[in-house]
Symmetry: C2
Subunit: 131 residues, 2 copies
DNA sequence: GTGAATGCAAAAGGTTTGCACCCCC
DNA sequence: GGGGGTGCAAACCTTTTGCATTCAC
């Protein structure tokens, strides 16, 4: 049951660390497939699941039906563009205090929250505004 | 292209209005199938999609891989139990102000946010605490 | 050498869709 | 009667999984 290192897992992790967007399994696969033609999609999924279970990466379910992955596990929030679907990191203060608000009239135990902001990203805003 | 009423759509909508949990398409289907054995799952999905496109119901993607539906379209928040998967309405004040926080250092246009709180629901908390 | 990891392909969900038939206006 | 809605089943997509093989320790 001991974890063994694998070239594939390292490829996947470092690919992810090198990107600020939040690629899907398929994007990761097609990119890495070029430098390692034997790579299989199942391996990509297995490692993404493993890494996120270990807490080394984040699995983002932004609601577009496809999982996105993020190597930045620090607390931060995401914005999803409803035009182009891109997922962007937000530089903002913590809003953890909303959990207190949520817990005031709730009997269970609130351990966390998932928040996605959506709207039009800078690039799409520019296009829409263009004269 | 004009919308015609359909017995099935009305069944679905009123079933949904009669529940405070947030059933999945399959739960809706199996329940209504009993009073209308000819009902098909495709029809349920088509109508749920139609109703949510019209804004008459909400499609909740809570991250468990299955869509949940809610006839209450008023602004409110949801809690998802990580033990039993139940989705519960939260009685809480608006946290729309988080959008201002999010927008401070962001160039795009933020139009909304989706927030799910997660943790242990009242029922599961009780079980876990039981001596 | 042992068992974890891979590659391949099949399977498993959940959701959508094509098509012939039905029903509402 | 025309066109939207339904039922049925097949198709779709993303993700998971079984199994024989390969690789790390």
């Amino acid at each position: 049951m001991a974890l063994k290192r694998s070239r594939q897992r390292e490829m996947i992790k470092s690919f992810l660390m090198g990107r600020k967007d939040h690629p899907t399994a398929d994007v990761i696969y097609s990119n890495l497939k070029q430098q390692d033609p034997n790579l299989s999609l199942g391996t990509v999924y297995r490692n993404l699941t493993l890494l996120s279970d270990m807490g080394e990466i984040l699995r983002l379910r932004v609601g577009d039906g496809v999982d996105h992955f993020d190597a930045d596990t620090s607390e931060h929030y995401h914005f999803v563009c409803t035009e182009c679907g891109s997922v962007i990191d937000l530089d903002m203060d913590s809003i953890d205090s909303i959990m207190e608000t949520a817990g005031e009239r709730f009997d269970g135990r609130i351990r966390g929250h998932i928040t996605y902001f959506y709207g039009t990203c800078p690039a799409c805003t520019r296009v829409a505004t263009k004269s």
